[in-house]
Symmetry: C2
Subunit: 190 residues, 2 copies
DNA sequence: GTCTATAGGCAGATAGAC
DNA sequence: GTCTATCTGCCTATAGAC
């Protein structure tokens, strides 16, 4: 039942990146929490770059799997978008930022291999949103001005930013207010 | 004409925080760029916390002054909001994040004195937006569902997030798309 | 797989000369 | 105000024993 060490390392490292940033934690921090020595972590992830890459890869895999579940759960755009919001809201509830939101901010201080994967994550999100927005408009479930791409940009930016602002102000409700205000406009079909 | 050292330090430090994050640079980095030794920086800013605090204080002062200029420049809400967007767009053009967007993300790894001031910055932004949104709606220049506070949350979150996403994807146009899409909805009075 | 030990470098910070 | 010199401690990373 207990995860193997590599998984434990990833779990702790992910939380540390999400709360402190890529440059805000060390192998010793992780080791200390798990109860091993930092040298042991190098056995699983030789360099911090390796760890960062593994972190984003796993995050994207999990996220992608959640997105597929959302599509399977309902074929109505408003429900799908609400579920999309819930993914981020869940992260915020754990007092964390989106992993890629944090890493995206720190872009210039990241190894190329990591920032490259952060890019890939955001592209996945936008592609998924564009599809949902297109279908929803076609089915007349939602309405919006402009291109699906523009609205997807807007939506993703809003959620990533709302997590930052809500955390900075110690007020998770600000995330809800921002997300709901956006959803309300999409659903206001006249 | 040349700025005194303390100002040079703040200029370089600000850019480094905006691009690499609070934990992504050192006194040596700043010193190297200015052409002095890192010990000299401690004369102006004894601790990194002092530097961080000075950074955010100056940033907020400058920002506040820009906000006042915007109010003086026009009394029409759409124009004011456009100018507000332009402040962030200008930062992005310099390939930087909002200083407080970056620091807000890194909250858990910051000295309390710094994160406290980041909070103050966001509150200033929201208060200004709420006023502009209220007046604009009263004057029937803009329209929106829900409270001014909710729309302000949404707006600020959108801009902060759009900077992160646009930078992560190396595509500043994504910022424009997201910001314009939002503005268009506000201005679509029917 | 995890340990001890250690390398080599960089971090923030201070003392004291100039 | 800036310098040199230095401290202490932490960083990532490796070697080799167990």
């Amino acid at each position: 039942m207990s995860a193997i060490t590599a998984d434990k390392v990833l779990d702790v490292a992910q939380r540390l990146v999400q709360t402190r940033g890529y440059n805000g934690f060390s192998y010793r921090d992780i080791a200390g929490e798990i109860g091993i020595k930092s040298a042991s972590i190098h056995y699983h992830f030789p360099s911090k770059t390796d760890l960062g890459v593994a972190l984003v890869d796993r995050y994207q895999d999990n996220f992608d799997s959640e997105l597929q579940k959302i599509l399977a759960r309902s074929d109505e755009a408003p429900k799908r978008l609400k579920d999309f919001i819930a993914l981020f809201r869940q992260t915020l509830k754990g007092d964390r930022l989106c992993l890629c939101g944090m890493l995206g901010a720190e872009r210039d201080s990241l190894p190329e291999a990591v920032s490259e994967r952060v890019r890939s994550f955001f592209m996945l999100c936008e592609a998924w949103l564009v599809e949902v927005l297109k279908q929803g408009r076609k089915a007349r479930e939602i309405a919006y001005l402009g291109s699906p791409q523009a609205v997807a940009d807007q939506f993703l930016s809003l959620l990533e930013g709302a997590m930052v602002v809500a955390r900075a102000l110690n007020d998770p409700e600000r995330f809800d207010r921002a997300a709901n205000a956006f959803l309300r406009v999409l659903k206001s079909i006249d």
